[in-house]
Amino acid sequence: MLMASDFCRLANFPRPQPTTNHRGAWRGSCSPRPFPSDGRPSEPWAFRCLRIARPSAVSRGRSVSCRAAEITTDPGQDRLMKAARMRYILENEPYCLNLIDTPGHVDFSYEVSRSLAACEGALLVVDASQGVEAQTLANVYLALENNLEIIPVRVLNKIDLPGAEPDRVSQEIEEIIGLDCSDAIHCSAKEGIGISDILNAIITRIPPPKDAAGNPLRALIFDSYYDPYRGVIVYFRVVDGTIKKGDKIYFMASGKDYIADEIGVLSPNQLPVDELYAGEVGYLSASIRSVADARVGDTITHFGRRAESSLPGYEEARPMVFCGLFPVDADQFPELRDALEKLQLNDAALKFEPETSSAMGFGFRCGFLGLLHLEIVQERLEREYNLTLITTAPSVVYRVNCINGDTIDCSNPTLLPEPGKRRQIEEPFVKIEMLTPKEYIGSLMELGQERRGEFKEMNFITENRASIIYELPLAEMVGDFFDQLKSRSKGYASMEYTFVGYRESELVKLDIHINGEPVEPLATIVHKDKAYAVGRALTQKLKELIPRQMFKVPIQACIGAKVIASESLSAIRKDVLSKCYGGDITRKKKLLKKQAEGKKRLKAIGKVEVPQEAFMAVLRLEKEVI
């Protein structure tokens, strides 16, 4: 019933934004199922499904910040596009297709893996003008690991673009991933090319879900979000059994039970139904207070008739990257707390605890899944909650083995145990894979080397593209590594990383002393070999930023009691307005008032007044040099 002309109308949609910072490919995960006989939806509905499928294709492969921006401008929109169900008729047989969009970024690889686990097959969408990227590979492997089924459909998108090279990209996919590309479908979401081929392929090539409606209920949560009016809305795939409206359900990992007030399908708008069967994708709302109660990966079962075992793959969220968030205006502290609490309702991976810093005042130390996650949270706090924040340099969790046998996890340099009490410090390492055109291999290896990386291997995946694998400390990654990668490769390289565990490192705590007083917020944990360079950079920057005082001020970087870098700020010699002419004091007074105003932004470190900007600039610098 779906006519070619319908697809032509798709052409009116906005063109997907060409992206320079392409990160990874989108996979739609599909679970085709013969349409239930009582299938309500009709054609216009099916048409809407496709509309929905399209923008998700658009959202695929945005740069990190773009994607973050997208989320922040309309967080709801991204959610709505998470999943959709469509009706499609092939050879007079109606089918129900459930499409799930997955987040593309590695920070959310856990969420990706759960989405994939909820599917029978996956569409591998590759940009015909960009080719295979590190993210593509990572997610293909993830799909192969997680998903029982192979990936039967490959789509080459954006073939309408002038720069599209579908043949080269096909070859690349074959060489790198090892998938047969002879039957790859060429398509353009913008022009509507190849859409019916894709839908036909989904039905013919992806197996339908097994009929397990008789088993005890097991449904896999692949997404959840907090709705201020209805509580948490859970998106799930019914794996076994059936779920009815009004059922008392039980979340096997969180151990919470609720009454399912409403269940429904995503058509793509939420459409309540009475019952969902094994193989179907839907949503439920049960007045759940926090997403932490219904985490992605958790298994829903009936409270009364519990399943014997939960679905595999559930993991607790584990923050990997930490940073301090402080409001620039101290009065905004309560607002920041409220905002974080609200965000946490929706984001079980976000962790935070109050932190006080002598320079920045009251704030929070927050834990994130990764850098993108950090960036998204920061953006949302600033945009949606109108907060102005200072972010300290992201840090990682160090594992400190103490002499008395204790092991302490420490993400805050100020909480690091005294040198005498600790035996060794371990830091998290990641394995990073960079895919790059061959001309940038040199500069990327240099980057890896600079970041204390250990070279693992390099493969030419095609004649012109290489994959370089390094293992390096996560701490080296959390700064501007990605920016460096992009700038050193003129934007062509892509990367992917996985956590490989904790390793012992020769780490030291670098203290900054201003006028003999240690300045805690400026303390950092750095590798011994880098301490000198970092110390020099920090002291020099501080010398530029701290206004001269009425006395000479030494600025030192120290490891323990040992000074490793030192600068000194000379005293102001003269600051006098000598003439107060004809009694006209107003101008002079204005100047003095301005000067007094400037002093208010200073934080006293002992006797020295340090402007907030100095802290911020140093934190920025830390991101660069550490």
């Binding site: 003269k574 000598s578 006209d584 004091i585 107003t586 002093k599 006797k607």
Partner: protein
């Protein structure tokens, strides 16, 4: 309402009594001024502020604009010959006429306006104005406000703009204090700052001023930190100044103002201007040389032989009210600070409106906080310093104590000096003891002043710290 609660009612009676006493003083007691109440400002509402007894008169004419100058002036056009060429310049006569109109249209600040004690002719180059016209201004002031029997009447004079005859004419009018704008004793420096006179005229002017029997009180202006100025030059200028034996010396540290020629040419601290360290040294040299020569450093940029303080300027430092007349001049009457238009055309319009009774002094009345800032800013410029007990009475002992606490590190570092009621400096140890004993504070620490020269040199820093205490 709030303000009146800040002040004990007894204060309101304090002043009239003193003022009456002063008026009753016999005339022959001059030139020693009547005792002045010690405080700078006890008043925060206009009713409490005594009416002005000082008047500033701006005579804006110059032969040319000096390169550092950003005052409201009117350049008459350069001429190498001295003043007579400008003698009949209609611009001067017209301006004086305008000035007379302003004086005439100005209402005395109070019904019982006390006579003026000081008049200051500033400029510009007031010595370019013919003495007959100066006389007309003095007459107008006298008839409008009355004049003390022996007022201090100062006039600024530039070398090369007057001769002995002209000076004597001025003295006959009652002028008894001359401020001579020497600025430097080096031909090249005078030229570099665009002065309309050379070294020869400086010598002549000093000769005229010192040779004039009727004039005992005169001041010499010098500028330090001029471009290309060396320590040797400055030393030489200072010693020549001392040799000329003026009763008063004003030393101004060059301020490079935006919109001046210097502002376009130079950046402070960069060649050819002296470095900050050098110019701080110039300041110290001046302080040392002049103090050694018997001058008292009674204000940041003023030195005088004992008893020769510029009474008019003391009005400013003590935050007392004063009239202002003429282009761009500032006045402070009934708690309102007002600056007249700096452009002649606007000033003419303004005078017209004043005559028509249409002037709305749009300057806002100084509020209590601002009043406290004024007091601190002005009194800390002086060697006398901030009178803590009177400050405490006016603005609260709490604030006075907070100021002391804020200055604690600087008392320790020697930038600020705590002084007791007998004008003896307290050691840091004594000061700190007083500070810790809240109730005793006022008893011993009577004044806070900036030290000379270190505190004076950093006065902006220190005053702005005090501002931060007053307006947190």
């Amino acid at each position: 309402m709030l303000r009146s609660t800040l002040f004990p009612p007894m204060l309101f009676f304090h002043f009239p009594v003193l003022r009456n006493a002063r008026i009753l003083l016999p005339v022959h007691s001059f030139p020693n001024p009547p005792p002045r109440p010690p405080t700078v400002c006890k008043f925060s509402s206009s009713a409490d502020i005594p009416p002005p007894t000082s008047a500033y008169v701006h005579l804006p004419f110059c032969r040319k604009r000096c390169h550092y100058c950003d005052f409201p002036i009117i350049a008459l056009g350069s001429s190498s010959s001295p003043s007579p060429s400008h003698e009949n310049d209609p611009r001067i006569a017209n301006y004086i006429h305008l000035l007379l109109r302003e004086i005439e249209a100005t209402k005395p600040a109070s019904h019982n306006q006390p006579p003026l004690e000081t008049v200051f002719f500033g400029g510009g180059t007031p010595s370019l104005v013919p003495p007959t016209l100066v006389a007309s201004v003095l007459d107008a002031l006298r008839s409008k406000f009355g004049m003390w029997a022996a007022p201090e009447i100062s006039i600024e004079m530039d070398p090369g703009t007057f001769d002995r005859g002209r000076l004597e004419e001025l003295l006959e009018l009652g002028v008894n204090r001359v401020s001579l704008g020497v600025q430097a004793f080096q031909e090249e420096l005078l030229r570099a700052c665009g002065r309309a006179h050379g070294l020869k005229e400086v010598g002549e002017a000093i000769e005229i001023v010192t040779g004039c029997n009727g004039l005992e009180n005169w001041s010499m202006d010098l500028i330090s930190s001029l471009p290309h100025q060396t320590p040797e030059m400055w030393e030489d200028s200072l010693s020549q100044a001392v040799d000329a034996r003026p009763t008063h010396v004003s030393v101004y540290d060059l301020q490079v103002e935006q919109g001046t020629k210097f502002g376009q040419l130079y950046t402070p601290g960069e060649f050819p201007l002296p470095t900050e360290t050098q110019s701080a040294n110039f300041y110290k040299m001046a302080s040392e040389t002049l103090t050694t020569a018997g001058y008292s450093h009674y204000e940041i940029s003023s030195y005088c032989k004992s008893g020769y303080e510029c009474k008019h300027n003391l009005t400013y430092w003590q935050n007392r009210s004063f009239y202002g007349f003429g282009l761009g001049s500032a006045s402070y009457i009934n708690g309102v600070r007002f600056s007249r238009p700096r452009r002649l055309k606007e000033y003419i319009d303004w005078v017209q409106k004043l005559q028509d009774g249409m002037v709305d002094h749009d300057a806002t009345r100084v509020g209590s906080k601002d009043m406290a800032m004024d007091v601190v800013m002005l009194s800390l410029r002086t060697a006398r310093g901030l009178d803590l007990s009177s400050f405490g009475r006016s603005f609260g002992d709490c604030l006075a104590l907070s100021l002391c606490k804020a200055f604690r590190p600087f008392v320790e570092s020697g930038h600020v000096v705590a002084i007791d009621g007998d004008r003896k400096s307290l050691s840091f140890h004594d000061f700190e003891q007083q500070l810790n004993d809240d109730y005793e504070m006022g008893n011993k620490v009577a004044f806070m002043r900036l030290s000379d020269p270190d505190g004076f040199l950093l006065s902006n820093e220190l005053i702005s710290i005090a501002f931060g205490v007053i307006s947190p």
